[in-house]
């Protein structure tokens, strides 16, 4: 049995380890913050939004611990060039369709590794002279467990197809390989990761509720005549019947060349309404057509003359997100 005053880190080594933690956590904080605007899905946006602040508090706590270890406050230091390369790779998924890659990077690779590292540190830390560090570790461990659980819940919600599962797996393998090669967050420990089996109850980050909010738009109150018009327009588009399509355009509405060119891609597809908004008596409808070619999303403004609904304006818009399940 070791002496109660035996320890595994010198003061300077402890400060260096804290700077290494701070590097990973500070960068993760900034990256999550930057990703929110680039992420379409509400559940993932809210998840990141909640965790940015927890992560910032961890980085802050590590930064404030440093002067107590004879080091400059609030300094981050990567453990290795390999870790910088890992964080760079983690950060690179910024396209709107890469939410899966973003969440996998943080919630299946970095956070599980941080959790394992913190747990190992806490298990070895000296209980007599390192409680200030232990308290930060204990708080961070509790938060990381909760974060991983919430992140996994949102990921499972978004992983709706074998193709998405394949992408998630590929991302995880690639980042894990980089992390392993880097020597991990501290650069000195075995590179491991922990699961969050002992997670506590959500603390303002109830992922199930985020998913419910994302799914909350279940049906639109569309007037029966307009619903019939939308269905007929959709059928005309996928049938490639321009005459039947024109029947729904108001006399003043002439589709631009870009719209006309894209309409050909609708042939043979499946159509569905994906957005239904209103401005006064006007109705704004997004009709998405998934076909053999690229998906098309048409944004239309429909106006009723009392008897009939007609399209007063239409354009194509980019579809940047997966649909709520």
């Amino acid at each position: 049995m070791s002496h109660p005053l035996a320890g595994h880190l010198e003061v300077d080594d402890s400060a260096r380890t804290v700077r290494h933690y701070r590097y990973a956590v500070e960068r993760m904080t900034r990256i999550l913050g930057g990703w929110i605007a680039l992420t379409p899905e509400l559940s993932a946006k809210l998840l990141m939004g909640r965790h940015v602040w927890d992560n910032a508090q961890h980085a802050d706590a590590w930064g404030k611990r440093l002067p107590e270890l004879r080091a400059a406050a609030q300094v981050s230091e990567p453990a290795s060039a390999g870790l910088v390369a890992f964080m760079d790779a983690l950060e690179e998924a910024e396209a709107p369709g890469e939410t899966i890659e973003r969440l996998v990077a943080v919630y299946r690779v970095l956070k599980p590794h941080l959790l394992a590292t913190y747990e190992a540190h806490l298990a070895r830390a000296n209980a007599v002279y390192e409680p200030p560090t232990c308290r930060i570790l204990a708080r961070a461990i509790e938060d990381e467990r909760r974060h991983i659980t919430a992140g996994e819940t949102v990921l499972r919600h978004l992983l709706r197809s074998p193709e998405l599962e394949r992408r998630a797996h590929a991302r995880e393998v690639r980042l894990w390989t980089l992390l392993h090669a880097s020597g991990g967050v501290t650069g000195t420990e075995p590179v491991t990761r922990a699961s969050a089996e002992a997670a506590t109850a959500p603390l303002s980050d109830d992922a199930a509720e985020f998913i419910r909010l994302e799914r909350s738009t279940t049906e639109w109150r569309i007037a029966p005549e307009l619903a019939a018009a939308l269905a007929a327009l959709g059928e005309a588009l996928v049938a490639g019947d321009p005459t039947a399509v024109r029947r729904w355009l108001s006399a003043e509405t002439v589709p631009g060349p870009e719209v006309t060119a894209r309409l050909g891609d609708a042939r043979g597809g499946r159509h569905r309404v994906v957005a239904f908004a209103r401005v006064g008596a006007h109705r704004l409808v997004k009709l998405r057509i998934d076909g053999p070619a690229q998906p098309i999303t048409l944004l239309m403004r429909w106006v009723s003359d009392g008897a009939d609904w007609r399209i007063a304006a239409l354009e194509t818009v980019s579809a940047s997100a997966v649909q709520p399940a």
Binding site: G49, D54, A275, G280, R301, P324
Partner: protein
């Protein structure tokens, strides 16, 4: 990741329809409607709440970008912005739930992105002046009035929830007041540009004379003088805002 990002990179689910604010206002005017929803009917309140919900979404996204875009800013600044991200993400949830409470849904009205555009300013001082003081100041005006109207309507759910959000917004205005000063210390030119940016936002959000000084029931958006004082606005600044609302052209 790009730093900063172009404003048109803002990612959205398909269920939201994005339109220029000017276009939405024009469509309403063409139909004989007020360009900005008043608070005179449940439907108008729902539309206002929807507008606030998307504003909170953009405020969360904007604060998140500020955490990322300015790694060389003081750490305490990053901490305040990270806290704001958390607050705004809770506000999004609050307003989505209030929408449900009012029998509405996400995407029921178009989303305009004026707020997000303002959050894309390249200078951190301009961003906090424009967003935290200009836009969060507007939020204080709008929420203060909404709390009053909810109380009058006998809707304690709306009243209580919005009042808590208002408290957070005052905190954000205070952060803006603090960081506008600290970030521009010793650089009067930078301060002048940041304040100018805030003033252009104030001018834009006077919404053609819709925001005014006056009783909650009488004006579409009444200026929340007390809340603004708590957020660090000086009496002179409030007086100047009131003067600018008086000279704003009707839309």
């Amino acid at each position: 990741m790009e730093r900063p990002i172009a404003y048109d990179k803002l990612a959205r689910e398909d269920r939201l329809v994005r339109m220029r604010a000017r276009e939405v206002a024009q469509l309403k005017i063409d139909q004989g409607l007020p360009p900005f929803p008043d608070l005179l009917s449940p439907d108008a309140i729902k539309e206002r709440v929807h507008g606030i919900m998307v504003g909170e979404l953009q405020a969360m996204e904007g604060a998140g970008r500020t955490v990322y875009d300015f790694p060389d800013a003081p750490w305490e600044f990053t901490m305040d912005m990270a806290r704001q991200v958390w607050d705004e993400s809770r506000h999004v949830e609050i307003y989505v739930r209030l929408l449900e409470h009012l029998d509405g849904y996400i995407g029921e009205f178009p989303e305009t992105t004026i707020l997000w555009r303002c959050a894309c300013a390249e200078d951190a001082a301009a961003r906090v002046a424009g967003v935290n003081r200009g836009l969060e100041g507007l939020a204080c005006d709008v929420f203060n009035q909404l709390v009053h109207i909810a109380r009058k309507m006998g809707d304690p759910i709306l009243e209580r929830a919005v009042d808590y959000v208002l408290a957070d917004e005052i905190t954000h205005v205070r952060m803006g007041s603090k960081w506008l000063t600290r970030l521009t210390e010793g650089d009067p030119e930078r301060r002048r540009r940041a304040i100018e940016f805030q003033e252009t936002i104030d001018e834009r959000f006077n919404l053609g004379g819709i925001r005014r000084e006056g009783p909650h029931e009488m004006v579409p958006i009444s200026i929340a003088t007390e809340a603004r004082r708590e957020g660090g606005f000086t009496d002179e600044e409030i007086a100047r805002l009131i003067r600018t609302t008086q000279r704003s052209a009707v839309y």
